[in-house]
Structure formats: structure tokens, C-alpha cells
Symmetry: C2
Subunit: 166 residues, 2 copies
DNA sequence: GTCCATGCAAACCTTTTGCACTATA
DNA sequence: TATAGTGCAAAAGGTTTGCATGGAC
């Protein structure tokens, strides 16, 4: 696990959110928050559980899921889905609050980037359709630099000749 | 189920793909392909099963999943994930082969759109990171025109005051 | 006749829920 | 002390797999 920013101020912020909602601030909730805020990664529930266990905590998965729901409600944490069959979570308190992802189909590495253009597209397309946008997700799938250098190829087995449309 | 384009030519195309791969062309595979090609919707496995049953077919879910794997391998069908907890499938043989989605958080309606800009972003960002892109996904979440007109609001319960970062 | 597909059920995996017990406030 | 949270295990929901049977070629 990579060293992250000091998580304590963010954990306090989460505590404040809980109090605002009239909910108890428990050790388990603080521990889950600390792991998520203390990591720069996109963490899965399994990874969060592993970090907690290695830190001496013994917190049930159900409690982790319930704490994550609250963190997402508080808007301090974002839920991500890269199509792996499970969700990942990341804190939203970094300098770049909204970002897009390049995802390597071979090694799973995720590279983050920002794009003002995407926001422009969001605004103009939404206007065209009478849509009121709240958030978006842009993911580009392919091969990362390292996998290209290692000679990895994305295997393709599609039809061998061009598609005749009707 | 909305009336779609004549699916037969596409089913034949799929049959050709199967023969190219040395795989049997079975009635079940053709039936699944016909449902997917015959619909303009993004179909879930349950919906596909329902259409098959109402058409007199009795095909097991496992077979549907296996047929869909082949359709995706053939590149004739795309797998979609709108974060609903299950996958959806759509044919890739329409006039607009690549498209993005506006997704209503209230009613689930999906509006499709195209954007040449997204392709430019894909190319330029990939170049910046030494990444070789194969595909992308842009999804904009929010409220559709009808839900706005119906007075629906996206409920937000985040922190009530601005986030103090450290 | 040889493979491979099918159907069914069981297994799997992530996530949710029920309930007795415990901690917060 | 009242209310809500926790842990465990069971349930749920979508998807995958094992295996005996049946169909494609």
C-alpha cells in the first residue's frame, strides 16, 4: 500500500458528517474511513479488509460495506466500477476532484487524467437533449506503455472480413 | 419489445463467424443472436430469456450466457455495464457503430449520442501517456427531460458545508 | 462416430439482510 | 438507557462451471 496523505483531517470531516446526520461515530467507521482516505489507490472491499486486518482491526465485511455506503453518501468518497465484477472506492479530497481513467486491458493499471473538453461535451450534449447532468464517466481501454513495451497484444477474434450491413 | 431491423442477415453473419472458428451453428445460438439483432434496445440476459420464452423457445440461462460470449467475441455484439449489477447487450450493426450514453438516474432511460470530440480526446490523451487505445466509454448521468418535467430532484445528502482540505 | 453444445443444478462471487449482542451518545 | 451499529451467517442476485445427455457436422 502506497503512503498517502495524512488521513486524520478527513476522518474528522467524516465524523462531522455522521454527527450532522445524527449517526454514531464508531471505531469501525473511522477505521474504514482512515484506510480509504489514507490511500491514493482505488480500493476494493477485499483490499480495505486486508489493510484493516494487517492493522490489527477485525471488522466484518458487512460493516465495511455499510461504512462505505455512508462515505459515499457524504460525498467524501466515490464509488468506481471498472467492470471487474466488484466495486472500488476512492477518496474525493485530492487536488483533482474529477478525473477520467485510462485502463490497461492486460495488467489492469489505471492512469488518471483530467479533461476540460469532457466537461464541455457533457454540457453541450446535455443541453441538446434537455438533460440535466450531475456527473460523468470517461474510460479509455487499451494497452499501457509497459505492456506495449513487453510485446503484449490484445487478442482479437472477430469476423475476418468486413461487416456487410444488410 | 420494439420492432427492430430484420435480424436474419446478421444471424447469418454470426453463423459464418462460428464456422470460421470451427464451432457448431446451433438453433440455440441462432435464436439468441436473433433476439439481440432484432432489438434496438440494450437487453439484459433476463430480457433475452423472456423474449425467447415468449417465442416458444426454452433455452437455459447458461446457454444464453455462452451464446452471448460468442457474440461478443465475434464483435457483432457489445457488452454494456450501466452499474445496475448486471450486464446488457446490444448489436453493433446499426448505422452508428460507436456511441456514448446519457443515463437518467431516476427512470433509467438511456439516450445515445455520438461525439467526434471524444475520439479526439481518446487519441490525444492516449498519445500523452504512451497508451494504445482500443475502445472507450463515456457515460453522463443525470436527469432526463421527462423526469425534470415531472419535478424529480436528485436527492443529495453530502456534507452541508464546503470541504476544508487539510 | 466424434466433438462440442445443451440443460440442469450446484457452485461462485460480490453484496445485502436478519438477528442476537454490543457500543455510542 | 435508548437507539443504532456490529458481527456472523444466511440469503440474494448475477454469472460460471461440472457433468450426463443430446445435437451438429
Amino acid at each position: 500500500m502506497k503512503a498517502g496523505p495524512d488521513a486524520t483531517p478527513f476522518v474528522r470531516l467524516f465524523g462531522r458528517y455522521l454527527r450532522e446526520q445524527g449517526l454514531p461515530v464508531t471505531h469501525q467507521r473511522e477505521a474504514v474511513a482512515e484506510v480509504v482516505f489514507g490511500s491514493g489507490e482505488h480500493l476494493s472491499v477485499d483490499e480495505i479488509e486486508r489493510v484493516l486486518r494487517s492493522g490489527g482491526h477485525r471488522i466484518g465485511k458487512a460493516t465495511i460495506y455499510r461504512a462505505l455506503d455512508l462515505l459515499v453518501d457524504s460525498k467524501l468518497v466515490a464509488e468506481l466500477d471498472f467492470g471487474e465484477g466488484f466495486k472500488r472506492y476512492e477518496h474525493r479530497l485530492s487536488a483533482e476532484p474529477i478525473h477520467e481513467h485510462l485502463i490497461c486491458l492486460n495488467c489492469g493499471t489505471v492512469i488518471e487524467f483530467q479533461s476540460a473538453e469532457v466537461h464541455r461535451i457533457e454540457a453541450s450534449v446535455s443541453a441538446q437533449h434537455g438533460f440535466r447532468p450531475t456527473r460523468h464517466k470517461l474510460e479509455i481501454y487499451g494497452l499501457c506503455r509497459d505492456c506495449i513495451a513487453a510485446g503484449v497484444e490484445v487478442t482479437s477474434h472477430g469476423l475476418t472480413c468486413p461487416i456487410e450491413t444488410v
